[in-house]
């Protein structure tokens, strides 16, 4: 479980996160939603420690993460996997080397064992016979899947996904969403997904946090979102005519 308590952060004199608190449960796909520039990515990067918060607390289980030094954080980071918005695969490495990288860095496994784990992870994300390809030779959807394979290589307890559907067509987006949901349950991970894709929200939203201008405005799940009276949330979620109709029919 990850618990965030009253975190605030200012960047360049602008307050980008204001007193945000949340609890993210294991075995669930937790979503952070909000429009572009609302502070979702900053929030996620604060949780994983890529941004240092000004105040508040971030707990991983019983460990106060934001108070740890680099070495102590390293132990928790070995239990984290992250899917970045642009996949962040290492350009100079092949698919196999990318997925093997965390194993090379943090395990004493033999080459054969590592290769077996790499192939298992790649098969799990439905990528086969692509071990020797470079990231530049992959499509957007394949890059995301390889990034997921790399993220789960060390069997993490925590999975973070920053806009996993950005730049993907609707069908591939659904495939990625399903994959994240399945892996979360399989590995009993605490998964946090940043998104503004409404299909993801309606499919994966076991717990949803809505952020607007760096503040948490609403918290609930995909069923509750249809009934919500939060004006800002409704403006965001039901921005188009089809979504408005859906809300009306739900009422």
């Amino acid at each position: 479980m990850i618990r965030v308590e009253n975190i605030s952060l200012s960047l360049g004199g602008r307050e980008v996160l204001k007193d945000v608190s949340a609890v993210f449960d294991p075995g669930k796909t937790n979503l952070i939603i909000g429009k572009s520039g609302s502070g979702k990515t900053v929030f996620l990067k604060c949780i994983v420690g890529l941004f240092e918060i000004d105040s508040g607390a971030i707990w991983y289980g019983d460990v106060l993460f934001n108070e740890l030094d680099f070495r102590a954080r390293k132990e928790i980071r070995k239990e984290m996997g992250m899917l970045f918005q642009g996949s962040a695969l290492f350009d100079s490495m092949t698919v196999e080397e990318n997925v093997r990288f965390p194993l090379d860095m943090f395990t004493t496994m033999s080459y054969g064992e590592k290769l077996e784990r790499v192939n298992f992870c790649l098969e799990r994300v439905n990528i086969t016979d692509s071990n020797s390809l470079l990231p530049s030779e992959l499509s957007g959807g394949m890059k995301k899947r390889v990034a997921i394979a790399r993220a789960i290589a060390l069997k993490p307890r925590y999975l973070f996904c920053d806009e996993p559907n950005s730049g993907l067509d609707p069908k591939t987006s659904i495939v990625i969403d399903e994959l994240i949901r399945e892996i979360t349950v399989e590995l009993n991970m605490t998964t946090i997904v940043n998104t503004h894709d409404m299909n993801s929200v309606m499919e994966n939203g076991e717990k949803i946090i809505f952020i607007e201008e760096g503040e948490k405005c609403w918290e609930g799940n995909k069923s509750q979102i249809l009934q919500s009276d939060c004006k800002l949330l409704n403006e965001f979620v039901f921005a188009n005519a089809l979504a408005k109709q859906l809300k009306e029919s739900a009422r």
């Binding site: 994983v48 980071r77 070995k78 695969l89 860095m105 943090f106």
Partner: protein
């Protein structure tokens, strides 16, 4: 302006502190260093040979045309070319050329890694990104650049000999006598010491410029330019200091 310079200078030294911390897994760093030896060292041999050959040729011709006097023995052309090449051109000028080639390469590579979140990915995994990316480059250039300097010295002297004798400004025997006359081996040591300092400047300054990039491809381009300019300025500055310290 002064504040920006000082804070940048401080950040540079703090980054070096991270770079020279204990590697997570030495075998991975060793492999990376081997890759960098090829990428930053072996792939620079071509340009160093071309530049040094013509540099040696021009130095020989200019020395010949500027010492056209019956009082001066012609072997002094060889001697002048040799000392110019060893003392200044093969270490400093080649370093400036490498600042352009290797420096911009390093800054754009690391800058791209920064803007495409590859550095964030390393940090998130618990890898010391500064050390993992920069240390192998520093080690590779410190190992290989002295060889580049030696290659440059040899190629420059050979270039001067071929062009000098072909143009008829000096005979082969005079040139060979000149390059052996009053040779001071310490000059080679001096050139190699300078090379080590310059290699360190090129890799660390360029890496720093790439590492701190924020934004997109435009900023990566700017970082690449800054890497070349700052590396060159620091090379020239350190060159003055080292010359005074090592030759006085």
């Amino acid at each position: 302006m002064t504040f920006r310079f000082l804070s940048g200078f401080g950040a540079y030294w703090m980054l070096l502190g991270k770079v020279f911390s204990r590697p997570e897994k030495p075998v991975i760093y060793y492999r990376q260093t081997m890759k960098e030896l090829v990428s930053l060292g072996l792939r620079s041999i071509g340009i160093v040979i071309i530049i040094s050959f013509f540099m040696g040729a021009v130095i020989t011709l200019q020395t010949a045309y500027n010492t056209e006097n019956p009082i001066y023995p012609t072997y002094l052309i060889g001697l002048g070319a040799r000392d110019s090449i060893i003392l200044e051109f093969s270490s400093t000028i080649v370093a400036l050329i490498l600042a352009g080639k290797v420096g911009s390469n390093i800054a754009s590579e690391i800058g791209t890694m920064r803007v495409t979140e590859q550095i964030d990915a390393l940090e998130l995994m618990g890898v010391n990104s500064a050390s993992y990316i920069i240390l192998p480059k520093v080690v590779a250039t410190l190992i290989f650049n002295p060889f580049l300097t030696l290659i440059s010295i040899i190629t420059g002297i050979v270039g001067g000999w071929i062009v000098g004798t072909t143009a008829g400004v000096i005979t082969s025997s005079d040139y060979i006598y000149g390059i052996q006359y009053a040779f001071i081996p310490y000059y080679i040591t001096y050139a190699l010491i300078k090379t080590l300092f310059f290699a360190f400047i090129i890799t660390t300054v360029s890496s720093y410029q790439g590492y701190i990039v924020e934004g997109g491809s435009l900023e990566v381009g700017r970082a690449s330019t800054k890497a070349v300019v700052y590396s060159s300025v620091f090379i020239l500055l350190v060159n003055v200091i080292l010359t005074q310290l090592l030759l006085s």
